[in-house]
């Protein structure tokens, strides 16, 4: 009798503990939606329902042309879902996701290597774009699909009302931000506007993503390539100078230069620009459709980023690659799909239509973003990408490096009294540890 009660109690305890385990159990139990049909490709993209509609059009055209069917899955929490599919060793055939994740996927063995020559039309993609998909072992692990570079969005109507010029340097930007914050550009009689929008949270590495352009303009690199490895470079004099400037003038400067909730903001909940209470936003061009709708085309302008103390106006470039899942056994069909996606027809379909475009700057060099869209603002973005942009290094697993950089920057910007130099020194040591984990530290 006592034994039974004890075993019941054990069962109850186990049940309770089962309820508690959160992420430890991830990965199991996710059903595979993969069709055994060799003529059907399972394709994943990181898309919300709006951009998924654009992909629907693209894949419909592909099926019509080639007869290969596409089982299309737009996935919002892409990496979480991908990890669970990886744990049952059954990946989607084709994935379209961020360029910066290539190193991470490759280090986990999730990707098939790609020979550029096997993709029809590979010569229409520039060498610069192809170079961004080379892995640590010198082989390609992705096919460029869409590229973008950050540009500065400015409230043109506000700027003209205050009689100020377009910002060309960091000093101009700061002066303009202060004017937007203090001189009531919206004319409602109260001080309720901010100079600049900043997604400054460390969550998902946002502050590193946003701040990278400022680092580049200050002549800073997060990692420096050395031989076959890398060395962290966040303790350089340029880094100390740049981060100090950002901290002093933006985060700990005059009130209203950036929006007050910057330190906990991610892009999704940073709507000050489209809500009409902030005057500038350094961000990606995909926001244009949102801003056109919320503010109207005439109210804002798209400008190249102002130059920093290093004299350049380099911005962060990123984009999306096409990846082939490891061990999927449909190489021919996958190559056919990739060839279609980078062809002028495939790229144009993805850049146009009534829904959010999924190709920003085309990787196909025969296309011109501004011409395809009949919108000269896109030539600013294309020019920034082609002439003044730097990507995060794609070969190493950059995910931990971006996250650690974001954690450190967020902390430095939060504590206004803290010492920038020691904060960056600590970050540099952490980054060295990350590189060492990947056997890349030189």
């Amino acid at each position: 009798m006592r034994d039974r009660r004890r075993s019941l109690r054990l069962a109850a305890t186990l049940t309770v503990s089962g309820l508690l385990l959160g992420t430890a159990g991830c990965g199991s139990g996710s059903g595979s939606a993969r069709a055994g049909d060799p003529n059907t490709l399972e394709v994943w993209t990181r898309s919300d329902p709006e951009s998924a509609k654009t992909y629907d059009r693209v894949f419909a055209a592909f099926t019509k042309k080639t007869g290969i069917k596409v089982d299309f899955q737009p996935v919002m929490n892409f990496d979480q879902q991908l990890q669970s599919r990886a744990s049952v060793k059954d990946l989607p055939d084709v994935m379209i996701n961020d360029t910066a994740l290539m190193g991470s996927y490759q280090s986990q063995g999730l990707l098939k290597p790609i020979t550029p020559a096997s993709i029809a039309g590979h010569d229409e993609i520039t060498a610069k774009s192809w170079a961004s998909t080379v892995g640590l072992d010198g082989r390609h692990y992705g096919i460029p699909y869409s590229r973008q570079a950050m540009t500065l969005f400015v409230r043109k109507d506000w700027r003209e009302k205050l009689g100020l010029p377009q910002p060309k340097t960091w000093q101009d930007t700061l002066a303009l931000a202060k004017a937007f914050a203090t001189r009531d550009p919206d004319g409602d009689g109260s001080k309720d506007t901010y100079g600049m929008v900043v997604p400054g949270s460390a969550q998902n590495g946002y502050v590193a993503w946003w701040g990278a352009s400022y680092l580049w303009q200050g002549g800073v690199r997060i990692l420096k390539k050395e031989g076959s490895g890398f060395r962290p470079a966040m303790d350089s004099a340029a880094a100390v100078r740049t981060v100090t400037w950002m901290k002093k003038n933006l985060f700990c400067g005059d009130k209203g230069v950036i929006q007050p909730s910057a330190l906990t903001s991610v892009t999704a909940n940073t709507t000050n620009f489209q809500d009409g209470n902030a005057g500038m936003y350094l961000t990606g061009p995909y926001n244009m459709s949102t801003f056109d709708e919320a503010l109207g085309k005439g109210k804002y302008e798209v400008l190249p980023a102002p130059a920093g103390p290093a004299g350049n106006n380099d911005v962060l470039a990123d984009g999306e690659n096409i990846y082939f899942g490891a061990r999927t056994g449909k190489a021919k069909q996958e190559q056919t799909l990739a060839a279609f996606l980078v062809s002028p027809e495939g790229q144009e379909l993805a850049m146009t239509g009534d829904h959010q475009p999924v190709v920003r700057i085309p990787v196909n060099s025969t296309l011109d973003a501004a011409k395809v869209r009949h919108d000269p603002r896109w030539s600013v973005v294309q020019k920034a990408y082609e002439t003044a942009s730097v990507q995060f290094p794609n070969a190493p697993n950059f995910a931990p490096i971006k996250q650690d950089t974001a954690d450190a920057l967020n902390a430095i910007f939060t504590y206004c009294g803290s010492d920038v130099r020691s904060g960056l020194k600590e970050l540099n040591d952490t980054l060295a540890g990350d590189l060492k984990d990947q056997d890349l530290l030189k």
Partner: protein
């Protein structure tokens, strides 16, 4: 002769075994579901915590490396403090506010039922929605609901979530707001069981309100409080969504709790082994805590 003596033994044994099997038979479907959806993934989680997880390159056995890495990481160490503070604060706050609500809203009147329903709403609302709502309420300018209220008294605006000194407390306040009504319901059930004649007798003896609470109500709802305390402690330690939605662990990691760290490790840094180890540590701590609370409660009951 011997046969007649021994027969009752086996027969009784058979009856007992049938009796013993029957409940398990009824439990089987539920246990099977629990096995597939809880225990197997859980077991796998524990198993993975000893590996460098790389499904396509072959998992690499690393022994206790993941555990050492997690336990020596200063961000996890900071997270322990935040988790405990948040857990204890939310549990106690939830019980105090929940009890107060229960005492205020006990009764049969129709208006009380409506108010009770209204008060219970936070519990049935998705945490993500509540988080977004509180983010708007905490908005650090006079546009935010709370700051506009403070503005009426000439105070503020206070950057609740963007100041590392207040962010954790602001998160705690939201947690209490969500937790208290749930506690209220359990305590209400406890209050319903209080013998009315004791109140009447106390009234005749002319005791004060405080004495009535202290010597009649509190002892009567002790079991309910025990349950509430256990649930709150478990919930407090594995707090995740509240923090993730409200602050994402920031600013400067000042609201990072154990589970947000584990999540970042698993899904931003793709270190599933480390995340599993962190989760297993949390599991052990929670188990220990649950058993201890249960033990103390039982000992108290015997007394």
């Amino acid at each position: 002769m011997t046969a007649t003596v021994t027969t009752p033994g086996p027969r009784r044994a058979r009856i007992i075994s049938k009796k013993a099997v029957l409940p398990w038979l009824f439990l089987a479907p539920a246990l099977l579901l629990a096995l597939v959806f809880k225990f197997l993934p859980m077991g796998k989680g524990v198993w993975l915590s000893f590996f460098d997880v790389r499904p396509f390159l072959g998992d690499k056995w690393v022994g206790l490396d993941n555990y050492t890495r997690v336990l020596t990481d200063h961000r996890f160490q900071d997270a322990i403090g935040h988790t405990l503070l948040l857990g204890v604060g939310m549990s106690l706050g939830g019980i105090v506010v929940g009890s107060a609500l229960a005492l205020l809203l006990e009764g049969q009147a129709r208006s009380l039922k409506i108010i009770r329903t209204a008060v219970f709403l936070p519990v049935v609302t998705a945490t993500a929605v509540v988080g977004e709502m509180w983010r708007l309420m905490y908005y650090p300018t006079s546009d935010g609901l709370i700051n506009s209220g403070l503005g009426l008294f000439g105070l503020g605006p206070v950057p609740y979530l963007d100041n590392p000194d207040t962010a954790l407390w602001a998160t705690m306040a939201m947690g209490i707001w969500m937790l208290a009504p749930y506690n209220m319901v359990i305590i209400l059930a406890g209050l319903a069981g209080v013998d009315r004649s004791l109140y009447e007798a106390a009234a005749m003896d002319g005791v004060s309100l405080w004495q009535r609470l202290r010597h009649i109500t509190l002892p009567a709802i002790r079991p309910a409080l025990g349950i509430v305390l256990t649930l709150a402690a478990i919930r407090g330690l594995r707090v995740f969504t509240e923090v993730y939605v409200l602050t994402g662990g920031g600013p400067a990691g000042s609201t990072d709790v154990w589970m947000t760290r584990a999540y970042t490790l698993g899904f931003t840094r793709n270190d599933i082994g480390g995340a599993s180890a962190a989760s297993v540590v949390l599991l052990c701590v929670t188990l220990l805590l649950t058993v201890t609370v249960n033990y103390l409660r039982k000992r108290g009951d015997v007394k």
